[in-house]
Symmetry: D2
Subunit: 359 residues, 4 copies
Amino acid sequence: MSGNSFGNIFRVTTFGESHGIAIGGIIDGCPAGLKIDLEYIQNELTKRKPGQSRITTQRKEEDEVEFLSGIFEGVTTGTSIGFLIKNNNQKSQDYSHIKDKYRPSHADFTYDAKYGTRDYRGGGRSSARETACRVVGGAIAKQILAHYNITINAYVSQVGDIKLLKHYNQLDLETTYNNPVRCPDKNLADVMFNFIDKTRKEGDTIGGIVSCVIKGTPLGLGDPVFDRLEADLAKAILSINATKGFEFGSGFDSVTKKGSEHNDEFFIENDTVKTKTNNSGGIQGGISNGEDIYFNVAFKPVATIMQKQNTVNTNFEEVTIDGKGRHDPCVLPRATIIVESMAAITLVDHLLRNRTSIL
Amino acid sequence: MSGNSFGNIFRVTTFGESHGIAIGGIIDGCPAGLKIDLEYIQNELTKRKPGQSRITTQRKEEDEVEFLSGIFEGVTTGTSIGFLIKNNNQKSQDYSHIKDKYRPSHADFTYDAKYGTRDYRGGGRSSARETACRVVGGAIAKQILAHYNITINAYVSQVGDIKLLKHYNQLDLETTYNNPVRCPDKNLADVMFNFIDKTRKEGDTIGGIVSCVIKGTPLGLGDPVFDRLEADLAKAILSINATKGFEFGSGFDSVTKKGSEHNDEFFIENDTVKTKTNNSGGIQGGISNGEDIYFNVAFKPVATIMQKQNTVNTNFEEVTIDGKGRHDPCVLPRATIIVESMAAITLVDHLLRNRTSIL
Amino acid sequence: MSGNSFGNIFRVTTFGESHGIAIGGIIDGCPAGLKIDLEYIQNELTKRKPGQSRITTQRKEEDEVEFLSGIFEGVTTGTSIGFLIKNNNQKSQDYSHIKDKYRPSHADFTYDAKYGTRDYRGGGRSSARETACRVVGGAIAKQILAHYNITINAYVSQVGDIKLLKHYNQLDLETTYNNPVRCPDKNLADVMFNFIDKTRKEGDTIGGIVSCVIKGTPLGLGDPVFDRLEADLAKAILSINATKGFEFGSGFDSVTKKGSEHNDEFFIENDTVKTKTNNSGGIQGGISNGEDIYFNVAFKPVATIMQKQNTVNTNFEEVTIDGKGRHDPCVLPRATIIVESMAAITLVDHLLRNRTSIL
Amino acid sequence: MSGNSFGNIFRVTTFGESHGIAIGGIIDGCPAGLKIDLEYIQNELTKRKPGQSRITTQRKEEDEVEFLSGIFEGVTTGTSIGFLIKNNNQKSQDYSHIKDKYRPSHADFTYDAKYGTRDYRGGGRSSARETACRVVGGAIAKQILAHYNITINAYVSQVGDIKLLKHYNQLDLETTYNNPVRCPDKNLADVMFNFIDKTRKEGDTIGGIVSCVIKGTPLGLGDPVFDRLEADLAKAILSINATKGFEFGSGFDSVTKKGSEHNDEFFIENDTVKTKTNNSGGIQGGISNGEDIYFNVAFKPVATIMQKQNTVNTNFEEVTIDGKGRHDPCVLPRATIIVESMAAITLVDHLLRNRTSIL
């Protein structure tokens, strides 16, 4: 009820502030008997880790996950999986200058307003550091999805005005993580990299779009009415820091379309019902139809900039604030793995919920 | 868990197929002592009612709501509010031609795949008729919001390529329901009307955008991490039939912005913290900051068109299907009230959840 | 969150006051493809119906259930099942004398204290009339359990000091509903009947015990830690009006036992693990072990008596109150079916939750 | 959904096996601004700690709790509180002899049956060690209750046939923890101590009853119908290891009572509505009426005895098993604090849920 849990059957609950002792969480509802690849999980975490190139923050977070329960001799026991990631590299003094000032477009002001108190060292609970726990949950979810041959690939498709125009089928999504931008088009990735780096040097930040493709989803996931698969995906994705929009299938482009051009006609291929086009984005009436699920996510520019800004302090006086600390000029390169993780958690939850026959 | 409920404390659970005896629901968690204006609720339902002009379906649904419990002598008792809306005008024979055929971009196929059975008369549970129950829940939610001076106004801001370019502050949102299109710009409403009507005559359908503005939200609504206010709004909105995308505040436009131009600087006005711009859309770190909340919703063109289409039947044979029955050429005019209702339910739920002090 | 729902996956939500238009509910999460025997459901309701003999209240409630959705051509569709039972025979004038007085050991005072308002005609939401909706839910749950060969039999094992000493294996539980007391020992049932009738003539009421036996539960139902099967059964049962205690297996008798006499030793029979004794009551570590589940429920004497009592009124003045209206001298005969229903709902919920393998 | 969480708004989720690296949990929904007394929490844990006298297990668990988040400068921030307790003293070799044997009346068999796997070192998740986490949650809950002047006192009222006959008002409940039995009657505590010690020397174990009294509960806690306060307390209590029964107020004694003697007549004292007797146990219609809440809990004898027993092994062969390891001859002395903790968590959850007015 306080919004620190996600999922119904497969449920991830997280805790931890960016500058506390540790962050961590509990994964509940993971089926028993799942062989866990710890190296895979650590590898997923590394994709989110800061400090990987000069276009991400230079903070050195080790992000080493320790599992405390629920896994015995390398296999899940069906009980709750507790884990933690220690905060080794927090530099609390970096934040002392903003203890009494509300950073523009950050959560400092709303947290104080809601709770009357706040851990002012960094963003506390609103820091993107929390998302490392989602990556742990997602990495376990992905290992369940692997048993169903479901794959999830997110990638950066736009940074500022630089837009990847190719359809995802024209891209090799296995190469996404080969470059620091996480754009599977190598040439465009270079352009994006230079643009982000230039923005960084200007002390500024920039937004962009992460696209995501889910292949292999079986027929029948998602529930009617409120818990439609796209609705739950939307919630999952928009719970990620800095997101501003979500569209699936034809998305916002559909609004200018006629029904006669937008409808996905059915046909038969190998005794299976397929659609000729996939404007539905793999979901019809809230339920997966077996086609690819794909969606786009808008990310705003990072709020922390290396420039002087006007703001107010906790005494409600107008002041200015300087940019300081180690921050990302663009959140996109580190966001793809978070998008994948939240999508994976959502899918596993619906897989485990999907019991519609009597026996 | 089967997705027929929405909300945590203020919770709406619905039932009913489009061609069964009745649809209805239970509103749980409504505080006691709320004076209920039944005429207001009926009036809200009328805004959703089909058959109001020639650009909406000519089905005559009375949509008269009967309350069965939870209201005593005109005031809520704090107990669960049961209600129903009888289905008086269903014409089951209209649908006999599609009993064995899967309509393109409808839920027929996915429902059969998920449940192995389905009420083939109309869309059953996936019919937009279900949304009448959401309007009942929303109409009660709005009466709670009125005690907080919170107002919610949705309107049609785009139909096909016809786009309303004015900012919502330049519009008189009280006039939205004065025309059948539900666009508060009278002149543009006429253009939209003619375009929808032309589309209807061609046996086709068209998509569009509904915009929504929420004014008066107190500081502090929304929870950190997963149950951010925008995430719950996104889920609420994308659980509405025919939606394809959701963006709030600066939305997808933010992706091309620099942090220095996108950040909302704080200032003081009448001892209150305000933001100079509102790219945040009234929500920072998942929590309302007191500014206007606003968002856009993409709706696809209605799937039922009056044209022959290729599809498959329940025996997995390729067949054609004719357009028949009474349907909307554009879902937008009837969707505004549903958007408002889901937003209202979401806000009331967060209002009632928002208890952060010890006593 | 307002306590009108029970169950996680198989979830029953109810509404309705005793003297409103109707009571009813929504059953969510019922699997698709279940053939529904409507006569069976009505027959279960009849077991709870008042006015069946002179030891139950002489109110004539028809208790005819109408299903409004979720069942198509006699089979569940997997969507939410809405139903209602009209209140045809409420005599609101019977209650006018207690509009302003708090009946001792009733919920009048606590409802007013909690909600500041209440439907004073009868017990409103706290009336046992609400339990008719649980019987509807239970009757559908039992039809699911029948596919698993799980049977649930509750019976009256004690009324006042009159106690049935036989073990349930010595009784023919199929005969329970053959007599108005619902005690499967015909001779003792007669003694109980006469005692209840004598109590009734004295204008008084009497308590008793309902015992319940569940046979055929598969291994593995129930979750560790908080959602133990016995914990969920306890909650289900103690949510029934007038209950005061719950014990399962050896129950309160276990407190004087040594471990060496109380432990249930395992042995093998037909390649199956069995226990020699069943002090565990079929549940070990919160999880069913395949043996019979059995438990006892204490019911207090009905609070409404036909005698003058001291109490206070809504102005906080001390007054006397007369006994009036049509009430049960003993709740037990009508309670057995409610106990069975709540146990059935709990078991089906755990059956549907019990998914522990990956695929 | 996997039963590792308790509570709706104030929610405790736990993880950890008895012989893993650590146990721990997340407390979600704790209001902000609560000053946390860490010493108090540690002191509560010490009450549960084994090895405190020769009638409890001689295992040396330090049970030192570390808080990882949610508390900043000694005050709760309103965000999720993560904590862990390291397992320092597990002796896994103690359990090797039972790796392949199912201990009678333990959860070994049902866990294997449910999950197909299990951490065989000790009881794993079903070990009472898990309850240390509940004590942490309860100790925080009690600090919230202190702001409402609500007190909870549990004590041992029966061990085997030795029964404390005094009413709780005749006892000084503040002295309960002054003796190792946790019985507030010093003389009877000595008798109980000797009896438990004698039982221990015989290699046997014994059951008993814990009684609990809650004073100061405000009017209006508890919800109607399913989430009655007594139903939620029953679930909370019966989720504790080794419990077999729960009764509140007059409990099982009420079954022989007439309504005329059992009803609690109302009267006025200091402008407050009071009841002359309190058979209701402080709860009427599921809602607290301001009187003392009191209940009894039956605990069975501990299953691990120091005697040879018949059982079966994981190959489904009949074998014998020896008693070994360090175990409690009677669970009661360590159970009182767990009962208090679960009651405290339940009450705080209902306190925070109890919002029935519009504004």
